[in-house]
Symmetry: C2
Subunit: 177 residues, 2 copies
């Protein structure tokens, strides 16, 4: 099962995230799990989340990038759900061997992500926080999907990203039939 954990506090205003989502949401074996719909009050049901995670073989964290990082509710999800003795530490093997795919979008164009650009760093500089969260839980980090310029990307380019996302998940499903 592919568990798509979607963290977007303003989904109705979204363009890029919505296009990405619509490209994959009908795939068989995919469970769509929109965190902000499920927990508008930030009160996460840890047991329910852990049960979902146990069933997943591929975990997707899909969200717009806010301040170089996942939105606050997904951050809270990490803190509440990925507990010691379950996800890491002694006996913490519940997620070991699952695949983890990060799908994110940024407002800025790619050239903002370099020394001298608006964000002063290559995009890769912001990856370790999320990547190491997955790896510390012994998940297999997949090559992330990152869509830059989400507010101004043209429709054809966005459609291409969306199609690539769908193809990635289809390929994963075939390989894990």
């Amino acid at each position: 099962m592919i568990l798509l954990i979607y963290a977007h506090p303003h989904h109705s205003r979204s363009i890029a995230q919505r296009a990405l989502l619509e490209a994959v949401i009908d795939l068989p074996r995919l469970t769509f799990h929109p965190l902000y719909d499920r927990y508008p009050d930030f009160a996460i049901d840890v047991a329910a989340e852990q049960a979902l995670m146990r069933r997943a073989q591929l975990v997707i964290w899909q969200h717009p990038l806010y301040w170089y990082a996942p939105p606050a509710l997904l951050k809270l999800w990490y803190e509440d759900v990925l507990t010691r003795g379950w996800a890491f530490g002694e006996g913490g093997d519940a997620l070991a061997g699952k695949d983890c795919l990060w799908v994110t979008s940024t407002g800025a164009l790619p050239e903002a992500y370099q020394a001298g650009g608006a964000h002063q760093h290559d995009f890769a500089a912001f990856e370790p926080v999320v990547k190491q969260t997955a790896r510390f839980c012994k998940m297999n980090w997949q090559e992330p999907i990152v869509v830059h310029g989400a507010h101004r990307i043209d429709a054809a380019m966005l459609a291409q990203h969306a199609a690539q996302y769908r193809a990635r998940l289809q390929a994963w499903s075939q390989a894990h039939g």
Copy 2:
């Protein structure tokens, strides 16, 4: 005014953060602002926060590091308070020129932060997310204070970190008399 924004969801269980806090909380001109006490429901009063920030000359973000990043409520604070046209973007100069100091603690010993260690990266690899958040708001990033091994640090070492923290703030106050 020094604005100490403190983000600790489990302050009563804290050792390192509590010691750091107690070392500075009585300093003159310091405003202590415990986010989890103020907003247990995650409903941030943006106008109140922005008014506080306007008055600050030095902003401190103090918190334990959870999953390589600030706790979820501080992440939400970034998203809610640091708005376009106020903290960044056109007309967004409210925080320009203020100093920003990151004070954080980790559970792991320093040697966990290297290739081959439990966290696979030097600690510096996790800094850009927070540092660039400050810089994008045109704040002056100060050398952070990072205390490793918060769960097992000995009392003398912790006292030394705490004294250094106090000395840093006193020196700042003298320079900004």
